[in-house]
Symmetry: C2
């Protein structure tokens, strides 16, 4: 039963399990105590910190362990903003950051701070010039992920760090997706990461604050973790996290080649196997294990469900999945199709035959969903004559992908030059109708408010 | 090698270990995902929540898991204060709360809130009337531990909850020390606890917020744990925590009898075995496994060190231990001797013969330390004649227990009625000199500022 959602959480690495077992016996006591059980725990904690720091490429006294990657991001952002309160209340983030970063930005905004979101290209990458333009005299902190969690695009961290450095602004890097693959290059100031992304246990994050970076931890503090992460250390899990980080790094070069070959296979073959698919994310500058694509005329939740039934666990940035009714902010910021979105993220033990089987199953699954939804099976018929008229499709109250399916069905029924006005109130339509036009080479003429929801205007061009 | 510091951290309960092992395989995935690994994780999480809620005596949807007991206390206090912001900014805590509560109170005070610390009796217990007097129209929240972590005294939670209920003020109970022993009685509103105190793994706390209690979580939030604890759930550890809570509860009645007998033995025999000892904490209303006593004329750190060499791991609220130079705030609030303080907290597998060996070793250890420090070995000689004069002892710059040792040596050299003026700048003297007077039936006449430090005045009465 192949699990293809390693970007959410990876199963425990064998080395992590072994380290966890060993330290349950040796590392349960309070490392702050002076008796032998405490000293033994302290030794384990110190060794884990040294090991993690070496892999990150920082000093051991710059690194603290937190209760989660999210906790590391929240504490890092709050502490860095407070440390530079005198400079000003301005925070810069990219539009495709992990929700933990965006939630922290929201809290900062609610507290009276200002936030600039740097836009991304269609590949999902920021441009360093986007950060340069966003920087202001009152900028306290900038944040950028090392690589995107939904589409795998690697960000130009070193270049952005240089831009920030020149302006005297610290850069916090959310390295959750990439730390297992390699160190974060460039002159960053703070770094956050999460152990369960690299095969470590859950319950452990890490926060690095470079010496010289102004940092004022927020909230109640205690004497643990240099006053930067309160509460009893999650020691056996910390030991396991450090051990597995070292282990996955040792295997990283070899694994990267192997996984990149497998994801490249998916990238290359899905568009031929499944009609009307958009593969998203940067084709070159990307993480080895992640590939993301969107399929027209299907909804993400049903595809996920059918793939699950066929034995494949993947995730989706489509609306209608889990509890959310809007497409992922990442796909939205990229301006790509969100309909039928599928993220495949391969764990390191993925077998070639499972990827092949996935490539066999996927077209059947998508075809099945499309059939059930009554999606247009073939391209629209040849145009009649070139006339100007308007057809209205009322898709108010209908969820994605129905508005796009109705549009695709109708386009062949109007003459070239005619306009179709799609009325819809599903947020996904705002993303998916223009994306459909781009994929189909039809003209998207914009949107306007309608009595209910929004009217999207499409002109048939061929 | 007997470990007698269970109140700091307990070794993993066998049931916890078993549950942890099993859920490492079953519960590593994201419980928010819809595929089978996610659903399996969700089932484990739901079952753990149900189990923990049943043991606590609350509804499952009132309980969330946090990254530590400290995290639960911090989030609970911040959320409850914010939820009742309109009522006012007043917070009530007891003077003997765990540092996590006091740190949260400090942050509240720094942010413009007001805090009342309710005093305790010499036993360490608060009086419900103390809370009644502290309540104000602008009181947003009151906090009380279920039992004290340093001396084991059980607090009158049900009575205090009633006082608070009558005033319409929610009571947050820090149940870290007692939850393994039994449910917290009474109409409390919020409850926090920590798994590694009951033999669960570290990295898990729990926060209960009763339905109807106004609560506004602070800081960045996500969709996990009802928006009350952000970050990926530490699932295997949560499963283990719930399993061990249920297991220790099932054994609690039997264990309580056994441990109470062993701590009673220490309480009863230490004063006979070691001269000049004060056993502290309530003799009746106390946790089964904790006994605390203070020994005149020794310093806590050396006693801990010597006991560790003899194979016993205990802790101390004396100054000069670990990084602190002041006696524990608990002993200070109780007004008891802090010198040579020793807390013995027995884990459930403590053997009778280890307690007996402790009772053999302790007198030797204390005698050895006293000899090295030149402590007075016998009571002071008979008085000469009744005269009024003053002897000055300059102990400025000398750390505890030297000021008390010098006082004890000098008392026999002055006539009855004479005054000794001890000059000292060690904070512990403020606690230990009056405590010594009480133990020795000498008159403590108070303190006054001195050019360096403080002058403590003692009148010889017999």
């Amino acid at each position: 039963m192949p699990y293809f959602d390693a970007a959410s959480a990876a199963p425990l690495h064998p080395v992590a399990r072994q380290a966890l077992m060993a330290s349950l016996d040796e590392g349960w006591a309070d490392p702050g105590r002076l008796y032998r059980e405490g000293r033994r725990a302290r030794l384990l904690l110190d060794a884990a910190r040294e090991a993690a720091a070496e892999v990150v490429g920082c000093r051991a006294d710059e690194l603290v362990f937190t209760g989660s990657g999210t906790g590391a991001v929240h504490s890092g952002i709050a502490g860095a903003l407070a440390g530079r309160r005198r400079t000003g209340p301005h925070l810069i983030v990219s539009a495709v950051e992990h929700s933990s970063v965006l939630h922290a930005a929201e809290v900062h905004r609610d507290g009276g701070g200002s936030v600039t979101e740097v836009a991304v290209e269609r590949t999902g990458a920021v441009r360093p010039s986007g950060y340069a333009e966003a920087l202001r005299p009152d900028t306290a902190l900038a944040c950028l992920q090392s690589a995107n969690h939904e589409v795998g695009t690697v960000q130009p961290v070193a270049e952005v760090a240089e831009v920030c450095r020149a302006a005297g602004v610290p850069l916090l890097v959310d390295a959750a997706q990439s730390l297992g693959w390699g160190p974060v290059e460039g002159g960053w100031s703070l770094l956050a990461a999460s152990a369960h992304k690299w095969g470590g246990p859950s319950g452990v994050g890490l926060l690095v604050v470079r010496k010289g970076v102004r940092f004022a931890p927020q909230g109640p503090r205690d004497e643990r973790e240099s006053g930067r992460a309160a509460g009893f250390e999650n020691l056996p899990a910390i030991v396991a996290a450090a051990a597995s980080l070292r282990a996955v790094r040792a295997e990283a070069a070899e694994q990267a080649v192997r996984l990149r070959e497998l994801t490249e296979r998916i990238r290359a073959r899905v568009p031929g196997l499944v009609p009307d698919v958009e593969v998203v994310g940067d084709p070159e500058r990307r993480l080895p294990g992640i590939v993301t694509f969107s399929c027209l005329y299907v909804d993400g939740e049903t595809v996920l469900h059918e793939l699950d039934r066929a034995g494949f666990s993947v995730s989706s940035g489509s609306s209608c999945t889990s509890s959310t009714l809007t497409p992922s902010h990442v796909l939205r910021a990229m301006g790509v199709l969100s309909e039928g979105n599928v993220r495949v993220s391969l764990p390191s033990d993925t077998r070639e035959e499972d990827v092949e089987r996935f490539l066999t199953v996927l077209p059947e699954v998508v075809a099945g969903v499309r059939e059930k939804l009554g999606a247009p099976a073939s391209p629209p018929p040849a145009p009649a004559e070139d006339r100007t008229e308007t057809l209205v499709i009322d898709a108010v109250g209908r969820r994605c992908p129905i508005p796009v399916i109705e549009l695709a069905k109708a386009i062949g029924t109007v003459p070239v030059g005619a306009t179709i006005r799609v009325l819809a109130d599903d947020e996904a339509a705002r993303l998916d109708i223009p994306a459909w036009c781009e994929m189909r080479n039809q003209e998207y003429s914009g949107e306007e408010p309608a009595p209910q929801g929004t009217a999207y205007l499409i002109r048939r061009t061929h």
